[in-house]
Symmetry: D2
Subunit: 390 residues, 4 copies
């Protein structure tokens, strides 16, 4: 989806677009129809297209969500009055959000594995590429670029571990107030209703869970996991941007951005765009949390409606950033000569601590502590997280 | 712009859409072209259309912003190499953002005046409509609905006063690093360059200001003013939603929303959507502030890019909410009978304080303090803010 | 710690106070001393007291953190020059933060179990207490208070599950740049250094992890888990506050707050204070995330310093809210008579959907769907989370 | 107040401490007592001290705020039953918050003027100190350090202009529900009640305004102004931290911080602590805005209680940062030699644009555009904001 306000947006293709959301809602209605009437041959999927978006969106305000309009359209075009019977608007919207989110997560997982491969390579390849560690902007003691890449990898393992721990995304099927009263009425009993709900969830490939109309932790849990990645990518972008400064020059993006007026300029564009995501994502998650805390009654009076845009933005931006971070890391150019020269220039500072410990302090390369072991540990940890990296 | 994720989005029409942003950028280039060459007959405006959006957006990532691609397109189609000469990407993006924001503010101002008219009417009409004041959810002492409307009006006057105090929106024209070096080189001197910058700003109807590439207070100042309205509309939405509860029933939206499954339901949809905005807007403003604080160097490495989406969302949502709030207030149904009945039911509680003061405490209508004077004061204040309300 | 700005603060006792933080830092130095010199009989613990706080805090600004001043004091008073040798300031501050956080989590876990017991009791006891479900503020279909309590319990199980999944809190021992160079220098090798780090962590009862000076996910992971509880408690507070409104009156806090001027008023104070936490916590977590994303180099230039106050506030507030929520739920008064009366009053609305499904629609109690099964499921889930609840 | 979690906290002395807040509340009660009984000789001020804090704080939870406990204490110790008669808790808390805030603003204003003086000096003194402008981390075109200082000054003028535009801080006197019913009852009429409210406000040196129990824009307006400063100081801290990197070395703090383990290290500590404030402040303001949007009824059910801690933190941190920024700017060491050397090294890059414009491009000093005029304009603007700077 073209978005001049968020360069790189195309990387998310049709994930979590209006069209995708609409299609997901239709899929939910289809799954419910089939679960309710297993022999049905009705297919709703082709009945609604992107051409309907404008009118559906215009109708959405009347009820506060787009479901009533969509249901009317589906019933009219399919001639099937039973469409949506037993569901409530929130069932459809929430399950569709989950379907969109799942596609985003799949894509992110793919690009995260690309990042992992690149980081494993960088950490292993630069085990002995000595460079100055910097603390509070100043030269501190020596480190290696391999260890820096390893701490990025450590962060990637942690974020991935966290995402993997998230509960499987569930369908939302509860009826008007999360009691499944209408499904039970229609199915002829609560067991049959619960069974239909399970069936519909399975048709969508989603987990089965009790209704969560006002218990929104499944969304915030995933949002927080996305922000954990945003934090990491923002940090990597920050590190690369800093070390790409011409006075430092120890890193460089494989393909830098140009300038509209200054010839020859090579900007660390991917880093810059990753930093953007790191500055933006926490606000969206905070909005989702405030909304979760305001989710009163059996359907909240505004908190629910707050979630959709925040979740969409957070998820799409995350897909974009995952891809950008993979590109950045795969293409990263490490200038080990500059690092080595700087270690010479900074030698006296970098070894001052060692001398104060009574050590020789004559060669920064001899004051690397456990850098090598820490790299190995990070690689081992990664091998557990991504089984088939090697 | 159809957006299923933000019901009501159509109310903002084409304000701050991608198309509008693109057109604004072209307008900036046009104004600069004319300021640089007053006799030019080149018209860039029709050379780029919405059909170019996809390719421009795709190109935008390479440099981190869409200007280089746009400039190439304009130069190619116009055959004029001088397009953009002297400007920098940030000049074009920032000035275009300001042009989009100005349209949003114009629209908001229009709807705010509608709100003011409605509130003046409500406050005046319900001077003596006694109802329970509620504190910490519980009945406290009596008040009038006129005074409640007057405190809403008080908030509207304050937010409007604040928006009116914002500095006029300026163009951004500074060249690569805010020194106007390129304009000076091209114009043959700094005075001529400053004069061109002034000319271009005036052609766009914008104020003239020193370059603000990293001094972002003009944006945060306006963003904060928009959030001040969001706070108010969220509060009004919250009050109406509460007082629309069936157990209370003292207020009702003129046209309530329906349900996809429950017949006869009338939901306070506008209130709900206003609360949504009140929960969302502060996050966008916080993002803009964090970005402002990270605006280092002569163009920041990510903070600038963070602003565009946040500002667009905040501004568009504000336009939507301004219109919704106006509709809500114009259509608000006040059930004075229910208020009066409740005052009878709650009489003993509402007059307990008066009795504890040694007063008669026999009639809530006799314990309204300065409610009447406070209403008058709010009306007088409003008459100063909106000169031609009456 | 007395804090007029956050009523209820005393519930957190000395958790995460300045005194506790100071003591924790001393404990870190002690553990490191013992790990470095297992036979040492030096005890630092009594050498520094709350009386030193003012001067240590005053000195803290010079280096940006309080460690240098503390180390100087400990060396002077103990006469042991080896105090802190091999560590860096961030090792001490981070490990002390973790120790404070652990105490907060222990306390929260205790009160969460109290909440679980209360909710299990409420859900089971009110399986058949029919009340109106409310969606978008309006009566929808019938539900039971047991199911409402069960969805609260569902949220508590989810939040607890999430906290339980957090990685164990690790010590931070990495030396100036996370390479353990100084420990290795002092211990005579990297294996010995890593062994010392492990020993120190174990003495503090903390997990062993690679240095995380700029990989801050261990903190954000725990912060997010705390916000997950805040969301839940805010929601419970919101539900109770709403249902405590005099017009509704279906719930009531066991001991309501009074008013400074209105006799007889009983405010839902605990609910109000829980809502406060729900509105506040997301901002602190967002700050921690923005800081994590800005954690560049081997020690960041401001992001690290941003964390301490945010984490302290979030953790202390969480301890307070955990205790308040437990009290609220243990003392909650459920007015089943009011619920039953309301179901009668609202009968026509509550059964409209059932009638539209072709059902009898004559008795709200016959339209509860799977409420009973959902309660049972929530109780079973809780029995897995808290093994010894029954 | 010693706070290890926020180094530099002592700079705020007793501003917005618990003791100050308590004293402010007593002052409010005193002013009201005198306004209600002009001839009274009762002095409440010495009746309550910091020794009462612990018990008052402990009592505060019962009602959700500390006023009832305080009033009971004042009545008991003074023997005057009329203390607080006519007021409500929120009157006392809000007015006391305003009194604390005013002291913070006074202090900030003082330090902002110090900053203005320092910036005027830097901008004027370094009019011709050529240095590379940096955009997206890379060298762009030349600028001068004088212009960089001028853009900081431009930001300071803007933030100060904004603070000066804030409405004067008003007392809050409205009684239980903002109608002044109790004051009117006691004073014998509404005119007398309004007159008493005016009198009390004037005794406290505060403005008179209609009650604002749920119209919180006076607080958010000031909070936003404080964040505007935080943005600026964060930006200055970021610029100084960057330019203090050893590879760049163009700026240096007058007195750098040291390290607990690395001898000879000089960290840009003030810059780091200013960046901390810039990362933290937006979250507090966002919390205040969300609270403002949730301020329903005549006193909200949690939103009000949310404000106190957020406002206290924001205000105290702002006082600290104002002082730190003044110290930073007064002591800033500008290494013009390094700047000049770098301009030589970077010459080819810095003049590339000029050459592409057809200019000579042989000397960066000849491509400064309107830098000089822009400095002059910033100085003139500052002279209007701070009349007696020179």
């Amino acid at each position: 989806m073209a978005d001049l306000f968020w360069p790189g947006s195309e990387r998310a293709h049709d994930i979590f677009t209006n069209e995708a959301f609409l299609a997901a809602m239709v899929n939910v209605e289809q799954a419910w129809l089939e679960a309710s009437d297993p022999g049905t041959e009705v297919c709703l999927v082709d009945l609604v297209t992107g051409d309907d978006l404008a009118s559906l969106a215009a109708d959405a305000e009347a009820d506060g969500n787009p479901v009533s309009g969509l249901v009317a359209l589906l019933r009219r075009r399919s001639g099937v009055k039973g469409v949506h019977r037993g569901l409530t608007s929130q069932d459809v919207v929430d399950t569709a959000l989950v379907l969109c989110l799942r596609r985003a997560l799949d894509r992110i997982t793919f690009d995260v594995e690309r990042q992992a491969r690149a980081l494993v390579r960088l950490a292993a390849h630069h085990r002995t590429s000595v460079m100055p560690a910097r603390t509070l902007t100043q030269w501190a003691v020596p480190t290696t670029f391999g260890l820096k890449a390893a701490t990025w990898l450590q962060g990637l393992s942690a974020a991935t571990g966290r995402l993997n721990q998230c509960r499987p995304l569930p369908a939302q099927i509860g009826g008007a107030a999360g009691t499944l009263a209408a499904p039970a009425e229609l199915a002829g009993g609560t067991e049959a209703a619960l069974s239909r709900a399970t069936d519909a969830a399975q048709r969508l490939g989603l987990a089965v869970a009790p209704p969560w109309h006002t218990e929104r932790s499944i969304l915030t849990e995933h949002a927080d996991a996305l922000v954990a990645f945003a934090d990491l990518w923002g940090r990597i972008g920050g590190d690369v941007a800093l070390l790409s400064r011409p006075e430092i020059g120890e890193l460089r993006e494989g393909a830098g951005g140009s300038s509209s007026t200054m010839p020859g300029k090579a900007n660390p564009v991917l880093s810059v765009l990753l930093r953007r995501h790191g500055l933006t994502a926490p606000g969206h998650a905070a909005t989702l949390h405030v909304a979760a805390a305001a989710s009163v009654d059996e359907r909240p009076d505004g908190a629910w409606h707050t979630e959709w845009d925040a979740l969409r933005s957070l998820a799409r931006h995350s897909v974009v950033a995952a891809s950008q971070a993979a590109d950045l890391l795969e293409g990263l150019v490490v200038n080990t000569d500059r690092m080595a020269e700087r270690v010479v220039v900074a030698a006296s500072t970098l070894t001052a601590e060692q001398r104060s410990m009574g050590g020789a302090g004559d060669d920064a390369s001899n004051y690397l502590g456990a850098a090598d072991q820490l790299i190995t540990a990070a690689l081992e940890r990664a091998a557990l997280v991504w089984r088939d990296l090697a």
